[in-house]
C-alpha cells in the first residue's frame, strides 16, 4: 500500500508523430517516426543486445492477479510491462509512441481505426492474432468479469451494453441488470492479422492510449483458465514470467521467442519484495540488490545517496503530479475559487521542496505534467507562486476564512512531512489554523474520499496511464468520473474536452485540451503541488541504466557489466 500512490506505469511522453499521422489520415507510415523532437532513438530499439546477466530489483506485491486488464496499479503494472507487448510501445527515452505489435493503425475520421499486426508470438509459442486482441478486450470490457482496467475500453462502441445495470450493489449483474451483450460491437476481426476498432465518439488520441497495459493481447490459455493464468501469466513481451512466491519475489526471464525491437539484454530479473524501502536501500548499499526504484527520504536528505552510491544514481522527470484536492460539497467553506487560490498562493512550494524533498520534485505551475505533449507553461499563473501578502489580501477580498482547516493524508504513506510543512506555510501566510491530519491507512483514506466524507483539504496524486494531456484532465475532472473526488462539474470544461476528442489533428486537439486546462485554472478545483521526479540507485554490477518517463527502470536497456 505504501507507495501505491499512483495508478499505473507504462512509458511514454509525446504522441506527436502518431497523432499527426492518425488524425490526418495522410500517412500510415507511423512506425518509429521521430517527431521533430530530434532525440536519438532509444537504446531499446537498437540491435538485439548481447545476452547476459541476472539482476535483483526492488519490487512490491501486486494488488491483483497478474492479468493485464485487471491491473491498474504500479506494483503489478511494472511486472506486466516486462512480460507483455502491446500494439504500441512508448519509447523509453524520448517517449514517442512507436508501433510494437501493430504494423500500423489507420484512421480517416478518428472514429474508425484499422489495425494490422506483425508476426509476434506469445511466450507459450502460440501466435498473436487479431483474435488475441479482440477477445482480450471483450473480456476486459464485460462487466461480470469485474476487470479493474475496464474503464479504458469505455470509448469503444458497444461498451455500455457490456455493463451491469442493476441498481442493487450485490446483484448488479443478475436478472434485469445483466449486460445486454457479450462482445463490443466496435471490434471486428477482419483476418488473422487485421481488426477494426470503432469508437462511440471521436477519440483523436486513441492510438496513443493503446500502449497502456490493459490493452495487451491474451493467449488462448488465458480464456481457458483465467485464475491459473493470473498466477502465471503469458505475454508476448521481451521477458517471460517464471515464478511468483507471494510476499517474497517475482521472477521473469528472457523470452527467447520475442521478435520485437525492444528485447532486453538481461537473462533474468528478480523482483524482490520489501516491506520497507529503507531496508531495500540498505540492501543496495550492502550489494544485495541491484536496482532500487525509489531512494528513501532518509537517503535523499543532504544528497546522502550521492555520497553512498557515487555515480550509481539516476534522475528523471516523470509523468506524475501531486496536488491538494478539496470537495466543496463536503466542505462548503472551500466553495469559492478565490479562497482556493488564496490558499494556493500561501504555499511556499520552493522551500518545501528544498527542505522536505531535497529538491527531488519540481514545483507545479499547472495541472499537466511537463513530460507530455500539450503541456503549457504557467497555466496556474500567480496562483501557484508563493506570495504571503498577496495571498492574505486575496483571502480577505474573498471574504476570509473562519474556523480550522485540515489537510488529510494517509498515515501509512510518506506524506506526513510535506503535508505538515504545507499546513505551516498556509498558517503562516493566512493565519488559518491548519492541521495535517492522517487517516489510519490508504484504504480508509480512499473510502472516505469516495464517500465524500473528507472535509477540508486532502492530498492526491496522479500518474499518467498513457502520455497525453487528455489523461491529466478527462479522468480527473469530468463530472462523475471515477477519480473526480472533488465533485467538480463545469459544462464548459466538458464541452472543450468533447471538441478536443473530435478535433482534426493533434495541434487542434491539444489547443482545445489546453483551453480546458485554463478552465481548470480559473476554477481551481485542485491546488497543484509538484511534478514527479524519479530518483533511483543501482549496484556496481549494472552497466547501462535508464529510467522511463513513467518513473520505472527501463528493463530493456539495463545491462550488466
Amino acid at each position: 500500500m505504501r507507495g501505491t500512490t499512483r495508478t499505473i506505469a507504462v512509458a511514454g511522453v509525446s504522441a506527436f508523430a502518431m497523432l499527426t499521422a492518425a488524425c490526418s489520415g495522410s500517412s500510415t507510415e507511423t512506425t518509429s517516426t521521430t517527431s521533430g523532437s530530434g532525440s536519438n532513438s532509444s537504446s531499446s530499439s537498437e540491435a538485439p543486445a548481447a545476452a547476459g546477466g541476472e539482476i535483483v530489483v526492488h519490487g512490491c506485491t501486486p494488488e491483483n492477479p497478474l492479468i493485464a486488464s485487471n491491473t491498474s496499479e504500479t506494483c503489478g503494472g511494472n511486472i506486466l510491462d516486462t512480460i507483455t507487448a502491446k500494439l504500441v510501445h512508448y519509447n523509453s527515452e524520448t517517449a514517442e509512441p512507436e508501433m510494437d505489435i501493430a504494423e500500423d493503425i489507420k484512421t480517416d475520421d478518428n472514429q474508425n481505426f484499422t489495425v494490422t499486426l506483425k508476426d509476434y508470438k506469445f511466450s507459450d509459442g502460440t501466435p498473436v492474432t487479431s483474435k488475441s486482441f479482440v477477445d482480450a478486450w471483450n473480456y476486459a470490457a464485460y462487466g461480470p468479469n469485474g476487470q479493474g482496467g475496464s474503464y479504458f475500453f469505455g470509448p469503444i462502441e458497444g461498451f455500455a451494453d457490456l455493463q451491469c445495470t442493476g441498481t442493487d450493489e450485490k446483484t448488479a449483474c443478475e436478472g434485469e441488470g445483466a449486460p445486454k451483450a457479450k462482445e463490443l460491437t466496435g471490434l471486428k476481426v477482419v483476418d488473422d492479422k487485421t481488426f477494426t476498432i470503432k469508437t462511440t465518439e471521436k477519440v483523436s488520441n486513441l492510438p496513443v492510449r493503446l500502449g497502456y497495459t490493459a490493452f495487451a493481447p491474451q493467449p488462448d490459455a488465458f480464456f481457458k483458465d483465467a485464475e491459473a493464468f493470473g498466477k502465471a501469466p503469458i505475454g508476448a513481451g521481451p521477458f517471460k514470467f517464471e515464478s511468483w512466491t507471494e510476499g517474497q519475489s517475482i521472477v521473469v526471464v528472457k523470452n527467447a521467442d520475442y521478435s520485437g525491437a525492444n528485447a532486453g539484454k538481461l537473462d533474468k530479473i528478480t523482483f524482490k519484495i520489501y516491506q520497507d524501502t529503507d531496508a531495500a536501500y540498505n540492501d543496495l548499499l550492502a550489494g544485495q540488490i541491484d536496482v532500487l526504484d525509489a531512494i528513501p527520504v532518509s537517503a535523499l536528505i543532504d544528497d546522502k545517496y550521492k555520497t553512498d552510491l557515487g555515480e550509481r544514481n539516476a534522475q528523471r522527470e516523470t509523468g506524475v503530479i501531486q496536488y491538494i484536492g478539496m470537495n466543496p460539497k463536503a466542505d462548503p467553506s472551500l466553495a469559492k475559487p478565490e479562497i482556493r487560490k488564496a490558499i494556493s498562493m500561501a504555499i511556499d512550494r520552493d522551500t518545501i521542496n528544498k527542505a522536505i524533498f531535497n529538491n527531488t520534485r519540481v514545483p507545479a505551475t499547472g495541472w499537466v505534467s511537463p513530460v507530455v505533449d500539450g503541456y503549457q507553461k504557467d497555466v496556474c499563473g500567480e496562483a501557484c507562486v508563493y506570495d504571503a501578502a498577496k495571498a492574505k489580501a486575496a483571502l480577505d477580498a474573498a471574504g476570509g476564512y473562519s474556523g480550522k482547516l485540515t489537510l488529510t493524508y494517509n498515515g501509512d504513506g510518506d506524506h506526513k512531512a510535506w503535508t505538515e510543512a504545507t499546513c505551516n506555510s498556509i498558517k503562516d501566510a493566512l493565519g488559518i489554523d491548519c492541521t495535517a491530519t492522517p487517516t489510519v491507512d490508504f484504504k480508509t483514506f480512499l473510502t472516505g474520499l469516495g464517500k465524500g466524507e473528507i472535509k477540508g483539504l486532502f492530498r492526491m496524486g496522479w500518474q499518467m496511464d498513457y502520455p497525453s494531456i487528455e489523461n491529466f484532465l478527462a479522468p480527473i475532472y469530468t463530472a462523475g468520473a471515477d477519480s473526480n473526488y472533488f465533485n467538480y462539474n463545469n459544462p464548459e470544461f466538458e464541452k472543450l474536452l468533447k471538441e478536443a476528442a473530435g478535433a482534426d489533428g493533434l495541434d487542434a486537439a491539444n489547443a482545445k485540451y489546453q483551453e480546458a486546462e485554463k478552465v481548470i485554472a480559473a476554477d481551481m478545483p485542485t491546488i497543484p503541488m509538484y511534478y514527479g521526479k524519479a530518483t533511483m540507485g543501482y549496484s556496481e554490477k549494472i552497466g547501462n541504466f535508464a529510467i522511463t518517463p513513467f518513473g520505472v527502470p527501463d528493463f530493456s536497456s539495463i545491462s550488466v557489466k
Binding site: 528513501p296 532518509s298 527542505a355 501509512d412 512531512a417 505538515e420 505551516n424 489510519v440 491507512d441 480508509t444
Partner: protein
C-alpha cells in the same frame, strides 16, 4: 501525573502498614531510609523538573513550539535554537519541553490503567480459583492474542473524528495501549498471587475469619505486588517508547499534540545525516524513564515489609 504513580506505591505502603499494624512508624522508617538514598534524591529532583515541564512548559522556554522556520530546517544547535531545528524547522528545544506533557501522560496513565485493570483481574482469578480462574484466564488469553496493530488501528479508526482535542488524542492512545497491555499484567499478578496464597499468614487470616476483601487488601496485594511493580515501572518507559512506534506505523498521536515519540518518529529520517534531531527527544525520553524507574525502585525498597 507521577502523583498517581506514587498513589499506587502509597496504597501499597499503606496496605503494608496495615499488615504490620503500625502504619506511621513504617512510613517514618521508609522516609528515614529514603532520605539516605542518593537515587531517591536524584530521581525525585528529575521527576519534579519533568513534571514542572509538563504542567508549565512556558517556564522553560518562550519559543512557540509550533512556529516553523522551514528555511532553517534541520539546522544544527546554535544560539538561536539551542538544540537546533527539526525537519519542519521547529525549535527542537521548545518541542522537547512541550512534548513532556503528552509523553508523560501517555506513560503514566497507561501504566496506572494497566496496573489497575490487570492487577484486579489477575488477583481475582488467582484468589477465586476454580471456574472463575479458568474463565478469566481464557478471556485474558483472547485479549492477549489480538495483535497490537489490529487492535490499535481498529480502536483509532473507530474513534477517528471524535476526541480531536489535545486530551482526546492522548486518551485514545492511552486506551489503545491499555486495552492491549493489561493481559500481561493480569497474568503476572495471577502468578504472584498463586505464590502468596499458600503462605501461613494468608491461611491464618482465613482461619481467623477475615473477609476475602480484607485478606486480599491486607495480605495478598502487599506481598504479591513486587513483580508487577517491577514490570510496570519498566512498562512506563516502554509505553512512552511504544507511542513512538505507533506513530511509526501511522496510528500514534496526531497534531495538535506534541510528544517525544512524534519527534523521534519525525527525526528517524535524519538518523545518518542530522542525528541531533533524534538525539534530544531520545535523551529526554531516556532520562525520564530512568528517573521514574529509579524512584519506583527506591520507594519500593523503602516500603518493602520484608526488607526489615
Amino acid at each position: 501525573m507521577s502523583e498517581s504513580a506514587v498513589l499506587v506505591e502509597g496504597a501499597e505502603a499503606q496496605a503494608a502498614g496495615g499488615d504490620v499494624g503500625d502504619a506511621r512508624s513504617l512510613g517514618a522508617d521508609a522516609w528515614r531510609s529514603l532520605r539516605k538514598s542518593p537515587f531517591f534524591w536524584v530521581s525525585a529532583v528529575l521527576i519534579l523538573i519533568f513534571l514542572l515541564m509538563a504542567i508549565w512548559p512556558s517556564l522553560f522556554t518562550s519559543t512557540d513550539p509550533t512556529k516553523a522556520v522551514l528555511k532553517e530546517a534541520r539546522s544544527r544547535p546554535s544560539d538561536a535554537a539551542w538544540f537546533g531545528r527539526d525537519i519542519q524547522g521547529y525549535d527542537i528545544y521548545a518541542r522537547v519541553i512541550y512534548g513532556a506533557r503528552a509523553s508523560i501522560l501517555v506513560g503514566v496513565l497507561t501504566t496506572v490503567f494497566t496496573v489497575l485493570l490487570g492487577g484486579a483481574i489477575g488477583t481475582l482469578a488467582a484468589y477465586a480459583g476454580g471456574w472463575v480462574d479458568s474463565l478469566v484466564s481464557r478471556i485474558t488469553d483472547i485479549f492477549f492474542a489480538i495483535p497490537l496493530l489490529l487492535g490499535a488501528i481498529l480502536f483509532m479508526a473507530a474513534l477517528s473524528g471524535t476526541m480531536t482535542g489535545y486530551f482526546g488524542v492522548i486518551f485514545k492512545v492511552v486506551m489503545a495501549l491499555t486495552l492491549l497491555g493489561w493481559p500481561s499484567l493480569a497474568r503476572l499478578m495471577r502468578s504472584s498471587v498463586l505464590q502468596v496464597l499458600p503462605n501461613d499468614y494468608v491461611q491464618a487470616a482465613r482461619a481467623l475469619g477475615a473477609s476475602p476483601w480484607r485478606i486480599i487488601r491486607s495480605h495478598i496485594i502487599p506481598n504479591a505486588m513486587g513483580p508487577m511493580i517491577v514490570v510496570s515501572t519498566i512498562n512506563l518507559g516502554a509505553y512512552i517508547a511504544a507511542e513512538a512506534t505507533l506513530s511509526f506505523l501511522g496510528i500514534g498521536l496526531t497534531p495538535p499534540v506534541i510528544s517525544w515519540g512524534v519527534s523521534i518518529n519525525d527525526a528517524i529520517v535524519g538518523l545518518r545525516t542530522t542525528p541531533h534531531m533524534l538525539l534530544f527527544p531520545s535523551l529526554f525520553l531516556s532520562i525520564t524513564v530512568l528517573a521514574f524507574i529509579m524512584l519506583g525502585d527506591a520507594i519500593r525498597d523503602a516500603f518493602d515489609p520484608k526488607s526489615r
